[in-house]
C-alpha cells in the first residue's frame, strides 16, 4: 500500500492546509500571509497573473521551499522543514512547468522511475535482478502498464522521451507522477504550450485521474476556460497575496480578481 506518513483522511476533509504562509527571497516577497486548504478528493486550482507567486506556493507545498512564516499542515500534522523527497514519501507528487523528464530514457523507463520509492528489495537482489527483485519489478511493471493504458501512450512505450512531441512528454510526466500513487498531485501548468486538442485530452486525463484513482489534485493553470471547467475550488493570488478563494463561479464574480486580470481604471 501507499507509504504515506500520517493517518488516512476521509474524502471532503482537509488534506492539506496552508496557514499564514509567507516566503521572501531577500527583499522580494513571493508569498505573503496566504492561507487556504485543499480537501481530499477535490481539484483545486491556484491561479493568478504572472509573478503572482503560484509556482512558489507549489514549491512550498512540495517542500522545496520552507516558508519563513506560517505553517503547512498535511494530514493533520504540522510539517517540519523538509526536503522534496520527504514530501514524495509523504504522498505528494508533482509535474513541472518545463517538462523535467530523463530525456535519454524511454517513456516506459521514465514512468518506472516513478516507482523507485516503492521498491523494497535490497541492492544485492536488484543487482542480480532475480528472486524478490524480479518479482517486485514484475509487480511494478504491471502498475506502470496500467498507467500507460490509462494515459493511452502504448505506442510510445519504447520511444526515448527526448524525441517525443511536447504534448506527449507532458503526458509521460503525468504518468511518472501517477506511478508514485500520490495522495496529492501537484500539476504546474499542465496545459502550457498545448494546442486546443491537446488541452482537451489533458483535461480529460486530469478529470479521469481524479475520478478513477481518487487523487486530490492541485493545479496551476493560465487557461481560464480550463480552470473554470476542471476545478472544484479556485484560489487566486496576486503579487503574493490571496485575493479570492471559492468555487469558479464565486471567483469569476469577485471584483478583486477582475481588477487583477484586467487592470483597474484610474
Amino acid at each position: 500500500m501507499r507509504a504515506t506518513g500520517g493517518p488516512a483522511v476521509a474524502v471532503g476533509d482537509v488534506l492539506l492546509s496552508v496557514e499564514n504562509v509567507s516566503l521572501s527571497f531577500g527583499g522580494v516577497k513571493a508569498v505573503s500571509d496566504v492561507s487556504f486548504d485543499i480537501r481530499k478528493g477535490e481539484i483545486r486550482a491556484i491561479i493568478g497573473p504572472n509573478g503572482a507567486g503560484k509556482t512558489s506556493m507549489l514549491n512550498i507545498i512540495n517542500g522545496f521551499y520552507h516558508p519563513q512564516k506560517g505553517r503547512i499542515i498535511f494530514k493533520g500534522e504540522t510539517r517540519a522543514r523538509m526536503r522534496p523527497h520527504d514530501a514524495a514519501y509523504g504522498g505528494i507528487a508533482r509535474t513541472f512547468q518545463n517538462v523535467a523528464l530523463f530525456r535519454g530514457m524511454t517513456a516506459l523507463d521514465n514512468i518506472m522511475a516513478g516507482r523507485t520509492l516503492k521498491m523494497h528489495s535490497n541492492f544485492f537482489w536488484q543487482l542480480l535482478r532475480y528472486g524478490p527483485a524480479m518479482r517486485e519489478e514484475v509487480d511494478h511493471r504491471h502498475r506502470v502498464e496500467e498507467i500507460i493504458d490509462f494515459l493511452k501512450i502504448q505506442e510510445i512505450r519504447r520511444v526515448q522521451v527526448g524525441r517525443l512531441p511536447y504534448g506527449l512528454q507532458k503526458r509521460v510526466e503525468l504518468g511518472r507522477a501517477l506511478a508514485m500513487e500520490p495522495e496529492l498531485l501537484l500539476l504546474d501548468e499542465p496545459m502550457a504550450g498545448m494546442n486546443l486538442e491537446e488541452k482537451e485530452d489533458m483535461s480529460r486525463f486530469v478529470l479521469d485521474v481524479n475520478d478513477y484513482y481518487g487523487t486530490t489534485i492541485a493545479l496551476i493553470e493560465h487557461d481560464m476556460g480550463v480552470v473554470m471547467d476542471l476545478s472544484d475550488r479556485v484560489v487566486v493570488l496576486d503579487h503574493g497575496i490571496k485575493i479570492a478563494d471559492g468555487t469558479p463561479d464565486e471567483v469569476k464574480q469577485s471584483e478583486a480578481v477582475v481588477d487583477a486580470y484586467l487592470g483597474v481604471a484610474h
Binding site: I148, D149, Q154
Partner: protein, 656 residues
C-alpha cells in the same frame, strides 16, 4: 487441410463450433493488453461466445434484430459479432471514427435496439445523437473507464453480460436451448449488414448472407492456401468489408489466428511482434511505410546508406524475377542472397513482414514503383479488386502472375463481363442479397439477369487476360473539344509522386484539364528540413514558392507521360494549384476509405475552380473545417495558381 473446408457449416456459429472441435487448442484470437499478448483458443472463444449469446438473449436480443458494433479491432467486439450471429441477430458494424451525424444515420437506418461499443468516446457520441435513434435501448461497452458516473439504466459492460450468461449456461436446459437456436439458423439468413463508406452520397447497408459469405471465403482460402497455422493482424476498420472478409470470414473458414493491435496507433509495433503470414494494406499505407523508410535512410550513416541503395538497386533488377520464379544467373542470385541477409531481411523484419506469405493491396491504383519495391525485397504482394457488394473479391492475382497495372483474373466461381459502356459487371458466390430497406437502389445496381454493376470502367488486358480498371464509369468525362477525360487516371499518375498526397483533376465539360493538389506533409516536410525551407504550418508550406516549383516539375513529367498516349495527349494539365488544407474525411471531402468526393469538392472550392478557368494568378478561399469532436472553425487563405506548358502530342504513327 481438406478442400471442402466449410462442409457441414452453413452459418458462422456452426463454423465456430467446428473450429472448436478440430482446432480447439489452436489460437483463434490474440490481443495485447497491458503490454502482454493475451491468447484465446478456438474452444475458449466458443465458450465465451456461447455465454455472451445467452447474456444477450437475457437482455432481450431477438432473432432477426440488428445490433450495432461501434469501435476498433478488439476481441470483445468480434465476439459481439459472433454472439449476435449465434442468436440469429444481425450485427451492423459502424466505423469507429465516424462523426456523430454519420453514426446517427446508420444506427437509425439499421433500426438497432442494441449497440456494442468500445469505450466512453463511442458512448458519448451515441448519447449525443440518441434522440435521432429512437429504437436504441441498451449500450454494451468494452472499456469501463470514465463511465462510472454515467446513468447505467442504458449501459452494461460486456464482461457483465458474458458473466451473467455463463452463470445461466450451467443449466443444461439453457445449453440445449442455445444449441437449438444455433441449429435453427439457416445459410440463407443474413449474417451481417455492412454499410458502404458512401463515395457517392449517404451510405447504403449491404446485406450479406451466411452461406454465400462462407462459400466466397472458402474459395479464396483455397486460392491462397490459408490454413489454421496462418496469422493475420486486424488493424483496418472493423466495419470495412476488407476486415470482415479477410480476417473474420477467412479466419472462421480456415481457422487462422486473428491478432488485434493494442491500440490503433501501435499497429506498426504490433505487426512486428506478431509477424503475420497474411497481410493486407491499402496502397496508401504501403506508400507511407516506404516514405518513412526512405526518410530514415536519408538520416542513416554513410556506409549504411550506400549499402542500402546498392542492394535495393540489385533487388530492383533481380528481386521480382526471383520471386516470380523466372531464370536469373546464379551469380546474381548469390548477390541477391547477400542483399537479403544485409538489407532486405532486416528491412522486412522492421516492417513486420518477415513471415508474410501472402500480401494484398487494393482500393486504389498502386504506383508501379511502389508495387515493385515491395515485391523486389521478397514480399509476395498481389492485387485484388473487389467491392462490399461482392463481399470483397471479384478478381485477384494468382501467385506468379503479378502486374502492377492489372487487378488479376476473375476469382474462382466469379463471372465477369464488360458492358457496352465499358462497365465491369460480375456475379459471384459471395454477392450481396440487396441493400437494407432500399429496393430501389438494389434494383439500380443489379442487371435483370443477376449481375452486379460495379460502376467501374475497365477492360481485359489482351496480353495477360487480367482485368484493368480505369476509373468510375460515371466519372469518365469529356473536354469541350471531345477529348476523353478520366480524372482518376490523371490523379493517380500525380499521386505516384511521394510529394503529392492527393490530387483532384477537373476538366469534364471544360476547355482544358486543371488540377488541385495536396502535398504530403511527411515527404515535403522532410525535404523542407533538408533544404532550409522554414514554415510554420501546413498552409504555409503548401503555399511556398519552392514547393510550387517542385510540384511543377512533377506535373510536367505527368504531362510528358500523358503525351505519350495519343488518346490522352489532349488531356494534359494546363494549370494547377496547391490547396491550403488537407482533404479530410471529417469535412466530408474524402470518404473514410480516403476516396475523393468530387461533387462536394467542386461546390466547396468553387472560387478556386473559377479562378483556375478564368486565368487569375491567385484566388481567395475560406473553408469551414470540422474538428474531431465535431466543433467547426474556418480556414482562409490566398492560393496561387501556376500555368503549365504542355508537350506536343507525338506523331500519329509513333503513338501505339
Amino acid at each position: 487441410m481438406a478442400p471442402n473446408v466449410a462442409a457441414g457449416a452453413d452459418t458462422f456459429p456452426k463454423l465456430l463450433i467446428r473450429n472448436a472441435n478440430i482446432y480447439g487448442a489452436r489460437p483463434a484470437m490474440r490481443h495485447k493488453d497491458l503490454g502482454i499478448w493475451q491468447t484465446w483458443t478456438w474452444s475458449q472463444t466458443l465458450d465465451i461466445v456461447r455465454a455472451y449469446a445467452v447474456g444477450l438473449h437475457r437482455l432481450g436480443v431477438k432473432r432477426g434484430e440488428t445490433i450495432a458494433i461501434v469501435g476498433g479491432n478488439r476481441p470483445k467486439l468480434y465476439w459481439s459479432v459472433m454472439a449476435a450471429q449465434m442468436l440469429g441477430a444481425i450485427p451492423v458494424p459502424v466505423y469507429a471514427d465516424a462523426v456523430a451525424d454519420e453514426l446517427a444515420y446508420v444506427l437509425a437506418h439499421a433500426e438497432v435496439r442494441f449497440a456494442a461499443v468500445e469505450d466512453q468516446e463511442q458512448v458519448d457520441k451515441i448519447l449525443s445523437v440518441v434522440k435521432r435513434v429512437p429504437k436504441l435501448g441498451l449500450m454494451l461497452y468494452d472499456e469501463k473507464r470514465g463511465l462510472r458516473d454515467y446513468d447505467h439504466s442504458r449501459l452494461r459492460s460486456i464482461d457483465e453480460v458474458i458473466k451473467d450468461g455463463r452463470n445461466v449456461l450451467d443449466d443444461t436446459a439453457v445449453a440445449a436451448w442455445l444449441d437449438y437456436e444455433i441449429a435453427a439458423s439457416k445459410g440463407t439468413d443474413p449474417s451481417i449488414i455492412l454499410y458502404t463508406s458512401g463515395t457517392t452520397g449517404t451510405s447504403k447497408g449491404v446485406v450479406l448472407k451466411n452461406e454465400s459469405s462462407i462459400r466466397a471465403a472458402a474459395d479464396t482460402v483455397a486460392f491462397d492456401k490459408l490454413t489454421e497455422n496462418d496469422v493475420a493482424l486486424a488493424y483496418l476498420p472493423l466495419a470495412w468489408v476488407g476486415d470482415h472478409y479477410l480476417n473474420y470470414a477467412q479466419g472462421m473458414v480456415s481457422g487462422f489466428c486473428t491478432a488485434c493491435p493494442e491500440s490503433p496507433d501501435t499497429a506498426m509495433t504490433d505487426l512486428r511482434e506478431i509477424g503475420p503470414s497474411f497481410y493486407f494494406a491499402p496502397p496508401r499505407t504501403l506508400e507511407q511505410l516506404l516514405t518513412r523508410v526512405m526518410i530514415r535512410m536519408e538520416d542513416a550513416g554513410f556506409i549504411k546508406r550506400r549499402l542500402f541503395h546498392y542492394f535495393i538497386g540489385v533487388a530492383r533488377r533481380y528481386g521480382e524475377r526471383i520471386l516470380n520464379g523466372e531464370s536469373v544467373p546464379p551469380n546474381r542470385r548469390f548477390l541477391y542472397a547477400i542483399g537479403n541477409v544485409l538489407v532486405y531481411g532486416p528491412l522486412k523484419n522492421v516492417l513486420g513482414f518477415s513471415r508474410v506469405r501472402i500480401a494484398y493491396t487494393a482500393g486504389e491504383a498502386v504506383g508501379p514503383d511502389l508495387f515493385s519495391f515491395y515485391r523486389s525485397i521478397g514480399l509476395n504482394l498481389k492485387q485484388l479488386y473487389g467491392q462490399t457488394e461482392a463481399f470483397l473479391y471479384v478478381t485477384a492475382q494468382p501467385d506468379g502472375e503479378i502486374y502492377s497495372d492489372t487487378v488479376g483474373p476473375a476469382c474462382p466461381n466469379v463471372d465477369i463481363r464488360i458492358a457496352d459502356n465499358g462497365e465491369v459487371q460480375f456475379k459471384s458466390p459471395g454477392m450481396f442479397s440487396g441493400y437494407f430497406k432500399d429496393d430501389a437502389k438494389t434494383a439500380e445496381v443489379m442487371t435483370p439477369d443477376g449481375y452486379v454493376k460495379t460502376g467501374d470502367a475497365g477492360f481485359f488486358d489482351e496480353k495477360t487476360g487480367h482485368l484493368k480498371i480505369i476509373d468510375r464509369t460515371k466519372d469518365v468525362g469529356k473536354l469541350n473539344d471531345g477529348t476523353l477525360f478520366p480524372p482518376k487516371y490523371i490523379e493517380n499518375k500525380l499521386k505516384f509522386y511521394p510529394n503529392i498526397r492527393e490530387a483532384v483533376a477537373l476538366g469534364d465539360k471544360r476547355d482544358f484539364v486543371a488540377v488541385m493538389l495536396n502535398i504530403d506533409l511527411t515527404a515535403v516536410g522532410s525535404w523542407a528540413e533538408r533544404n532550409n525551407v522554414i514554415y510554420g504550418s501546413y498552409q504555409e508550406l503548401a503555399g511556398h514558392p519552392l514547393v510550387y516549383d517542385m510540384l511543377e516539375k512533377h506535373v510536367s513529367e505527368v504531362n510528358r507521360s500523358l503525351a505519350e498516349d495519343k488518346v490522352m495527349a489532349g488531356a494534359q494539365i494546363k494549370r494547377f494549384l496547391i490547396l491550403h488544407k488537407e482533404l479530410d474525411p471529417d469535412d466530408g471531402e474524402i470518404t473514410r476509405t480516403l476516396k475523393v468526393r468530387r461533387g462536394f469538392i467542386a461546390e466547396r472550392y468553387a472560387p478556386l475552380i473559377k479562378a483556375l478557368y478564368d486565368g487569375s494568378k491567385e484566388a481567395d478561399i475560406s473553408t469551414e473545417v470540422t474538428f474531431e469532436d465535431g466543433r467547426k472553425g474556418t480556414i482562409s487563405a490566398r492560393v496561387k495558381i501556376r500555368d503549365m506548358k504542355t508537350v506536343a502530342a507525338p506523331a500519329m504513327g509513333k503513338a501505339a
